[in-house]
């Protein structure tokens, strides 16, 4: 088989026919936009499409969006995704395969499905969040205690943005007269420079972190809502691990960005962020007022109570004192009257005693004298009874020997001379016989008395 020789143009023309024959339909492919390449003169767009595997390009093709399609595609993308179509984004393309003898293979982009990119964003955000979670950073900023009075505020925003303006107006015109100290760390909040610029602002703020209570991130506002940088891993990490609580005031209605999620609190707009701060101050002041009124109430209560106690004590004291005095008085009176009674009783008894005295004395004397007289009389009787004369008179006699009274016959011997005294007269005699042991009982008592 002999090969026909054709020119390059003819050959590429055949390739085009084959290709277009083989791929006659519209196809849906996914790719990353490496470069957008909008041709300003013509208004056409010639994006470079790539596919990467671990950051390495493994496929590459040129695309084209004709001017007639471009505006519609960009608008739809912006409206759905909330961002401009730009380089680095992953997109789902509706394409036709075109081949041109001069330009080679070219994918004619008829449409871009923005929901795919949105999903990619969500996935990417999810991956970033998962990574931050793994690093233990996801809730770190949320765990910081939020100051009761966020008065010294560091702001990362762009100076001229409407959002920053709103934030300042809200704070400065607060109805309570609270004062704020606001320091702006300016940064680009959108576009290519946004991420490094925000990171640099965070770094500057970090150096001066002790001078602030809270960090607020306010985004520009306006129509152009480019939030891509707020889904950045680096910014997410920097905010999550920031030592001050971060308020995210990126006004948007889209899904929460990474910054929104890792921040201490997400507010829906710069104004809402300002209001949050003011409310926080207001709450603090209300706490103060609550404490103040509790203090007043309780102090007043304690004072009232104490006053009541004092009054009561005073009353008690009065009553008691009165009672006591009365009692003392009574006691005194009764003591006095008792004393008086006792004294008069005492006196009376003495008087009686004294009155009785002479009589008593007299009768005592009488009794005494009588007693003595009786005694004397008795003694007299006894004495007279003992007088030997009286004994002799009754017939007894007393025997003497040599002038001595003989009471015992043993003291005599026969032939002794004895004298006997009678009541009347004396006789002298001689002892003839001695009878020993001739005691006579009737003399016994007389003998005892005489001894």
């Amino acid at each position: 088989m002999v090969m026909e020789i054709v020119s390059l143009r003819e050959f590429l023309g055949q390739v085009r026919q084959v290709l277009e024959f083989a791929y006659p339909l519209q196809y849906r492919i996914t790719a990353e936009i490496a470069r957008l390449n909008i041709h300003h003169q013509s208004g056409h767009c010639f994006p470079d499409l790539v596919e990467k595997e671990k950051d390495k390009v493994v496929a590459k093709a040129s695309g084209v969006i004709w001017k007639s399609n471009l505006d519609g595609i960009l608008k739809k993308f912006r409206d759905t995704v909330g961002e401009e179509l730009k380089e680095g984004m992953k997109v789902l393309l509706v394409i036709e395969v075109r081949f041109h003898e001069l330009y080679g293979l070219r994918l004619n982009i008829l449409d871009i499905d923005p929901s795919y990119t949105l999903g990619e964003f969500a996935l990417s955000r999810k991956r970033i969040l998962a990574q931050l979670d793994k690093e233990g950073l996801l809730n770190r900023n949320k765990q910081l205690p939020f100051p009761p009075v966020p008065q010294r505020i560091a702001v990362i925003s762009s100076e001229s943005s409407a959002g920053y303006e709103d934030f300042l107006n809200t704070l400065y015109n607060n109805p309570y007269g609270y004062r704020f100290s606001i320091t702006l760390f300016p940064a680009y909040m959108q576009g290519e420079q946004a991420e490094p610029s925000i990171l640099a602002a965070l770094e500057r703020c970090y150096k001066r972190r002790k001078q602030y209570d809270v960090l607020v991130i306010i985004r520009g506002g306006g129509d152009n809502i480019d939030l891509h940088c707020f889904d950045s891993y680096n910014i997410g990490k920097a905010i999550a691990s920031f030592p001050l609580p971060v308020l995210s005031g990126i006004g948007h209605t889209r899904d929460e960005t990474v910054v929104d999620i890792v921040a201490h609190k997400k507010l829906i707009s710069p104004t809402a962020t300002g209001e949050f701060v003011i409310n926080r101050m207001r709450n603090f002041e209300e706490t103060l007022e609550g404490i103040s009124s509790r203090l007043v109430d309780f102090s007043r209560g304690i004072l009232t109570e104490q006053q009541a106690l004092i009054k009561e004590a005073d009353n008690h004291l009065n009553i008691f004192a009165e009672f006591f005095l009365r009692k003392v008085n009574q006691n005194f009176n009764s003591i006095v009257s008792d004393f008086r009674t006792n004294v008069s009783k005492c006196i009376a008894s003495r008087e009686f005693f004294l009155k009785q005295m002479p009589d008593n004395l007299a009768s005592a004397l009488r009794i005494y004298v009588k007693g003595h007289i009786n005694f004397l009389e008795r003694q007299e009787d006894r004495v007279s009874l003992m007088n030997p004369v009286n004994v002799l008179k009754r017939g007894y006699s007393i025997t003497f020997k040599d002038g001595k009274i003989v009471k015992n016959a043993d003291s005599l011997q026969e032939e002794d001379r004895i004298e006997t005294q009678l009541f009347s007269g004396r006789i002298k005699s001689k002892v003839e016989e001695i009878k020993k042991r001739s005691s006579s009982g009737f003399l016994k008592g007389e003998g005892d008395d005489r001894e």
């Binding site: 404490i291 102090s299 104490q306």
Partner: protein, 78 residues
């Protein structure tokens, strides 16, 4: 200013302590006046601080300081 280190957080916790003491009647009547005086000082201090112009002064100082730091940063070879 002797109360320079007094922060809102410290003030509020001290206040709560005082109120608790008074409410639990842990305070002798003799000390009550001292406690109430201290509490009212803290309340007044906080309320004034919420609105005081000192923060304005600090703000100015802080922006001056920052401008200077930035100059230094820029002057440093990177």
């Amino acid at each position: 200013m002797t109360e320079n280190k007094l922060t809102y957080t410290k003030a509020i916790s001290e206040l709560e302590e005082i109120v608790k003491e008074i409410e639990n009647e842990d305070v002798e009547v003799d000390n009550l006046i001292e406690k109430v005086k201290r509490a009212s000082f803290l309340i007044k201090y906080c309320k004034e601080k919420l609105r005081n112009t000192e923060t304005e002064v600090k703000k100015v100082l802080s922006s001056l300081e920052m401008a200077r730091e930035e100059k230094q940063d820029n002057g440093r070879p990177s």
